[in-house]
Symmetry: C2
Subunit: 177 residues, 2 copies
């Protein structure tokens, strides 16, 4: 099943800039068989973990995150770029190649002690996901795992999450070519 | 069921600017009962319409769009802001309060004649959704319906879609206060 999922992910060379092999999950999501397999694999992993809520990171993390929440029978929390959420938020900064950016979540989106599954499509350097995990921690949530379709191990993001004490899972990985 | 859904949507006055009553669906998505009812109501509506693919408009349209695609057993297509999609795209401009913006979709995301369900969380002035529908038309898709959780009828977006020959559906509506 993992090989099927891997085969549906398209690689776009030199995007968004020269030298980057972009792993594009839109071709996987577009394919009904691939999409079905992806979801069933994730549900199988998380169905018995007593997840209370699923949080997805803007924007591609909304896709599998929302589906997983529905399949697990729980609610969904969007973690968004700065200035996109209308209610009272908490925010967390993360480093970009040049400068910093920040992400936010509604303060009332999780309750203290709730078991949160954190979802994104891909982990690269891990900056955004680490900030998202720290954000959930600030709210007192218990992060069960950070879940990705794709890991790019050369960029060290998963290692960074593990070193910070979080669990991390991915279905496939792609080495740099 | 509609009343339950309506009751879970939070109104935030004066956001993003003074005089706007922002209808925030995050409180609905966060609530497991509300979320379940939302999804079952949408699935009930679309399950027999022979939808081939579901397209969601960035970013909140990814949430219900992705869930609906999974429930209907079809693929999901993201319609994104300019510069976010790595493959070959087609784009469509739409007017903002000042100036214009554009949205894009991958050229190979739908096949000619495919029946597409177009999803967003809310329709206000309808500019983005009309552009998204026109984009899908450019690719030869057959738009079954544009589907929203919330319509703000005072802003005329749904009327605009209907006048352009598209079908439109929403679960709840909020008049200006």
């Amino acid at each position: 099943m993992t090989e099927l999922i891997r085969s549906k992910i398209r690689t776009i060379p030199d995007w968004p800039k020269k030298g980057i092999m972009f792993r594009d999950v839109t071709t996987l999501l577009n394919d009904k068989e691939g999409y079905k397999h992806l979801v069933s694999l994730l549900v199988e992993r998380y169905k018995d973990m007593q997840i209370d809520i699923v949080a997805g990171i803007e924007a591609r993390g909304f896709i599998t995150g929302a589906v997983l929440a529905e399949k697990l029978g729980v609610g969904f929390v969007p973690i968004r770029k700065k200035g996109k959420l209308p209610g009272e938020t908490v925010s967390e900064e993360y480093a970009l190649e040049y400068g910093t950016d920040s992400i936010e979540v509604h303060k009332d989106s999780v309750k203290k002690g709730e078991k949160v599954l954190l979802v994104d499509d891909l982990i690269a350097t891990g900056g955004t996901c680490l900030a998202a995990a720290n954000l959930m921690n600030k709210l007192g949530a218990d992060i069960v795992e950070c879940s990705f379709i794709v890991d790019l191990p050369d960029l060290g993001g998963k290692k960074k999450l593990l070193e910070a004490g979080y669990k991390a899972y991915n279905i496939v990985e792609f080495e740099g070519d």
